[in-house]
């Protein structure tokens, strides 16, 4: 494709009424939560400071796993969404099957399956191939005894699961763009891919931004499930601390507050981006 860059945002002057100090409960909430955290850690370093120090690396793991997964989810969702609107029955069928299966199985079960059960499945397949077709024993051997890194398994699980939900968001967003847009683009001689890339998707992005933002916040919270597959995230670090100190109330108060700060900030960033993108129409 040529390196032509279609402008993505519409710089139309807003006629927002002057920003008179509107009362915004978000700030109150953030001040409250951050303040409470600070008071706890500074005012009662034992145990709160100890807990905070102990779980800090878990916070980074949680953030990393959320962001890495989310980037992959955006890509998986685009592929799945385009598959869901494809005319080709094979592509459409495969995409629909994927979405239906994934949406019918709980996320935790999927994560556990990928981490614990999938390697066994691959081993069985590898052994099957090797014994059936000895010529392929070499490549089939690669499937045997795979040990997934917990982080990789978790990212993979999130991508597959959230990718299915994201596919539906993309599909709905693309389908919300009037049919005439695609027809106009095609009648100018643009291919399907070019029309999607330069005409449909730039418009669909604005439509899907709010639900995509919600998915990010939901993923941030769901990332705590990875503690079940041996990833040392915030939740798992909290559990470790609790099991050695038995300070349940203090540990989980702090962990919950840290999650709350993260989700409050990310939903704020999401609505900021939304506002930026919805300037003009």
């Amino acid at each position: 494709m040529p390196d032509y860059e279609a402008p993505q945002t519409i710089p139309k002057p807003t006629t927002e009424p002057g920003r008179i100090a509107r009362f915004d409960p978000w700030w109150l909430l953030v001040f409250g939560v951050v303040g409470l955290l600070a008071i706890l850690i500074a005012g009662k370093p034992d145990p709160f400071r100890r807990i905070a120090v102990f779980v800090t690396d878990g916070i980074w793991v949680t953030i990393r796993i959320t962001i890495v997964s989310f980037v992959l989810i955006l890509i998986a969702g685009l592929i799945g969404g385009l598959g869901r609107i494809a005319k080709n029955p094979l592509i459409h069928g495969a995409a629909s099957l994927y979405v239906e299966i994934v949406r019918g199985v709980p996320l935790l079960v999927q994560l556990i399956f990928i981490y614990y059960a999938a390697p066994q499945l691959l081993t069985a397949i590898g052994e099957g191939i090797a014994s059936a077709i000895p010529a392929l024993a070499g490549p089939a051997g690669l499937l045997i005894g795979i040990q997934l890194d917990p982080f990789v398994a978790a990212v993979f699980g999130f991508t597959i699961c959230y990718g299915a939900y994201m596919s539906e968001i993309y599909r709905a967003g693309i389908q919300s763009i009037p049919k005439g847009q695609m027809e106009a683009a095609r009648s100018l001689g643009m291919s399907y891919t070019q029309s999607m890339r330069y005409v449909i998707l730039p418009q669909a992005v604005r439509v899907i931004l709010p639900p995509v933002g919600n998915e990010f916040v939901a993923l941030l919270k769901d990332s705590s499930l990875v503690s079940a597959v041996a990833v040392a995230d915030l939740t798992r670090r909290g559990r470790e601390f609790m099991s050695t100190t038995l300070l349940s109330l203090e540990t989980w108060t702090l962990v919950a507050l840290i999650y709350l700060v993260m989700t409050l900030f990310s939903s704020r960033v999401v609505s900021y981006i939304e506002r930026k993108m919805s300037v003009g129409k």
Binding site: Y4, A6, E183, R186, K281
Partner: protein, 244 residues
Amino acid sequence: MENDIIIIEDAHKSFGRVKALTGVSLRVGRGEVVVIVGPSGSGKSTLLRSINHLETLDRGRIVVDGIPLTQAENINRVRAEVGMVFQQFNLFPHLTVVGNILLAQRIVRRRTAAEAEKIAHELLEKVGIPEKADSYPSQLSGGQQQRVAIARALAMQPKVMLFDEPTSALDPEMIKEVLDVMLDLARDGMTMVVVSHEMGFARAAARRIVFMDEGRIVEVGPPESVFTNPRHERTKLFLSRILR
């Protein structure tokens, strides 16, 4: 090369049980302006849309400028040679007026930015709204939007222009500005197939009027004879309603 730039032979098209076209044949010569009239649901849009393959025929043959519309690669080639203007304008709302006119020039015709922009500004001059180059479609009136849509199609330097009721979504005071642009185009020798009930335009620009009903062409002839002296009852009935 054939003298007829559009050849439609025995076109059939159904949507489920609805028969939109039932054996339509029509030839359009180079530089000719044909106006299609007919009651709602008679298949006018379907016929127009099958000329650039927005609808796929069930049966029949369409040849545009010597290129049969069968293989996929031909379809994109033909589309680049056939401009289409829609009732609802269908401008790209996320792009400026100039952006709308540039897009396909850049990625289909692969023109340089400078070249494409020069053409865009010339065309905006031609359709009478050079000052709107950097506006967004939502900031334009319907008549202005439709003129941009015409400019966008013309930027591809098509050999044929198709118009599907280009003025029927417009307020009365804006109809003339769009029809004037179309009349200019007709005088410049553009081949045009126009679905429209604007009798003034048809009389001034059309060499032939095609009257369609129930997926068929009922009557074809020069405007004077079809409008003043229709041969078929259905044409008479339809015209008496349109002309009031």
